[in-house]
Symmetry: C2
Subunit: 203 residues, 2 copies
């Protein structure tokens, strides 16, 4: 399947017949409340499995960020697939595991962290796929793209766009980051940001 930018290919609450493997592009996953409040529960990348949670209906809506390509399988086909590709079994297990661990970190973020800590956590998380270890070491500036809008960041962190924007500006004034056009950030002190993300305030 190919899905155009901005289109939803999974609808929250719809009967969950199929699951998907994302083979190209990125997607945002979110739930809505009746009055429009939105919480982004995650971003999906190439290789991710979606809609595995085989309850009656999907727990979130999935919307393409840019163009997205997918493989769709009916839930009933899982067993056959696993039979044909035995390594898939471990893969599924592992996927679910790591997703759960991420979720637990997200609960701490949303339940207990301040706006500054949330944004710092977000930046570190965005950076980690690039350079996993370079963060603790006090090593140098590290530029990363922010493919998502401020609104998406806000809905991911449980904040408002205004607070996200303000906090970015604060970080800039404090010399922690530098901003190039709202969709590209350079971390000037990854170590400090990483500490802040963990709730440690260095003098």
């Amino acid at each position: 399947m190919v899905v155009q930018a901005g289109r939803c290919f999974i609808q929250e609450g719809a009967p969950a017949h199929d699951f998907y493997v994302l083979t190209g592009g990125r997607a945002k996953l979110f739930s809505l409340m009746p009055d429009g409040r939105r919480q982004i529960v995650g971003f999906a990348e190439v290789g991710d499995f979606l809609g595995l949670a085989s309850s009656e209906s999907y727990a979130f809506t999935a919307e393409a960020l840019g163009e997205v390509t997918l493989c769709r399988f009916p839930h009933s086909a899982i067993d056959r697939l696993v039979e044909r590709f035995p390594r898939l079994h471990g893969r599924l297990q592992q996927e679910a595991s790591s997703e759960l661990v991420k979720m637990q970190a997200r609960l701490m973020l949303l339940g207990r962290k301040t706006a500054r800590e949330r944004l710092a956590s977000f930046l570190v998380e965005q950076a980690s796929p690039c350079c996993a270890h370079a963060l603790k070491d006090e090593h140098g500036p590290l530029t990363l793209p922010l493919p998502m809008s401020r609104t998406d960041i806000a809905d991911y962190l449980g904040l408002t766009i205004e607070t996200v924007s303000r906090t970015f500006s604060l970080f800039r004034k404090e010399g922690l980051i530098s901003i190039r056009g709202a969709s590209s950030v350079t971390l000037l002190s990854p170590g400090l940001l990483s500490d802040m993300a963990g709730g440690i305030k260095r003098s």
Copy 2:
């Protein structure tokens, strides 16, 4: 294994050698930040699997609420166990699935809901194991025990004890609940509470 009340049998950050099946009692699962902020990521009941997320180290601490009995298995034994008990496979899958769905609801709760909505959600969640369907129907009062302390409720909902207590009092004044000694609540209008939990405000 038997664990006494208040003892921790899984330590956040410790190397994750084993996983556990809870065979008696209840436990609370939480993470801590360096300054002591706490987030309860869940309560475990009889039959639940703990420490399955097989990353390097445990993502949370598990503390017994009352006396707890467990079976412990080394992670390396999973494959052998699944081989001997084929039905376990589906069970594990299902467990991970439903846990993920619950987590996504928790993200919405912590990221977007107000204090009133959080407490209403909590009460409905506590009630649902008892009477799953009786909630939507406007049916009558429904008494339930609250085995955990106010502090635990607060850390579960991302609030403070004061806010939890105040909100309980508000609900009482509004005739939504009635309280018997801090560890037993009666839902007088389950329907209204359920709506509030979902973010619907009836006139």
